[in-house]
């Protein structure tokens, strides 16, 4: 995974801490291997290459990951869709390639999470149409952060924070008795570490989707990686969406889904399900769910 992973734990012994951190990293690597979109031997690739042909038996991890992905797809009315693969594959964010409209429209017909059949009894996943591709990118890191935290707990770590890029799982309290404090990146700033607001996180996960993560500019237009499964083009209403839930996978997937839905619909969805979130819209205005207002500490509002 070409992302920065940090694990911080609180432990009485540094050897216990090292061992737990090691196990945490292993867990992330293991999940990464199973869910890698680009590696042909991954479970996800197995499902993808057998699209339209046969159901593939998968591990409980992938089964859980895709079940959660499907749940978020349903709740966001398909704004988050793990089967966005065929459209994403048309874009190349390194080479700055934007596909033509015809190709996008053609591949959009392959994007539909309803055609991802999950059989929990037999632990199989089947993509109904040939050419369909599951891209777990929008849920994978959050899921792995949550799972790594579980591994830390299992190794007796009472407090820790796992950050896979911007997907963070924090549990327990810091040695000084305060909860872990997480900064939310300022989407307008060039610097990666410029923080717009901070909030305390205890036994929760937070993920952010932002238009600054992966993008290219072509003919004066900015194309970022948060592609709407409805249009096949980058969603334009938000600069970033940060979502707090009890589960890493849900935070990650909802961050993508809510970003694509935009501030108005996004806020409505969050309130319906009872999740907390922070949205910064295109104009730079801040939208927050009521539950988070007292907890958000804004940094020098410019």
């Amino acid at each position: 995974m070409d992302t920065l992973v940090t694990i911080t734990v609180v432990s009485r012994s540094s050897s216990d801490a090292d061992e737990a951190i090691d196990k945490g990293f292993h867990e992330i690597e293991r999940l990464e291997k199973a869910a890698n979109f680009y590696s042909p031997d991954s479970e996800i690739s197995q499902i993808n290459t057998h699209a339209g042909i046969s159901a593939i038996k998968v591990s409980s991890d992938i089964l859980e990951l895709l079940t959660k992905a499907r749940y978020v797809s349903e709740k966001t009315d398909g704004a988050f869709d793990p089967t966005i693969g065929p459209v994403i594959a048309l874009y190349d964010f390194h080479k700055k390639i934007k596909p033509d409209d015809a190709a996008i429209i053609k591949n959009l017909s392959l994007v539909n999470y309803h055609d991802m059949v999950i059989n929990r009894d037999q632990s199989t996943v089947f993509l109904r149409k040939k050419g369909m591709l599951i891209d777990p990118g929008g849920i994978m890191k959050g899921y792995a952060a949550g799972r790594a935290a579980e591994v830390l707990k299992k190794h007796g770590i009472v407090s820790g924070i796992v950050a896979i890029a911007g997907d963070i799982r924090a549990y327990g309290l810091k040695p000084d008795g305060s909860p872990w404090r997480v900064g939310i990146r300022d989407p307008g700033a060039q610097e990666q570490d410029k923080v717009m607001a901070t909030l305390e996180l205890r036994d929760m996960s937070i993920s952010t989707s932002g238009d600054y993560e992966r993008f290219f500019i072509l003919n004066g237009r900015r194309f970022h990686h948060l592609i709407s499964p409805k249009t096949g083009y980058p969603a334009e209403e938000c600069q970033s969406a940060s979502i707090i839930t009890t589960e890493g996978a849900l935070s990650d997937a909802f961050a993508t889904g809510i970003f694509i839905l935009g501030p108005e619909k996004g806020m409505k969805v969050l309130e319906e399900i009872g999740l907390e979130g922070i949205i910064i819209d295109r104009k730079g205005s801040l939208h927050t769910t009521p539950g988070i207002r007292g907890r958000l500490e804004l940094k020098n509002p410019a």
Partner: protein, 129 residues
Amino acid sequence: MNLRTLLDKTTAADRLFFLLLIILSLSGIFFIREILPESQTVLIDADGKPAYVLPLNEDKTVSVEGSEGKTIVEIRGKRVRIMDSPCRNKLCIRQGWVETGGVVCLPNKVVVTIRGHEENDRGVDAVTR
């Protein structure tokens, strides 16, 4: 020999030196109280190495291995004390409960300091982006 004649034996230099030390140490006590930040964390060092970092607001009793044996440190009600120590003079125990500063047991090489967490207030532990 009464007190009067004893006092008469002291020189001007004696009295000046005495006053100087009293003033310096008193202002030192005040000064150190001033620069000590709002306390939040209890740091326990044993034998020159950090042994524990504990929150001051969580009641807890820990045992640390010093050079002469186990020193028991108790945190309760945002205060800290050395509950038991193998040292001979037991000065650390007699110091009782402290809220700021710390307790030091020199013979057993155990140092308990109470520290603020002002660095953590400004910084964050992770950034979501």
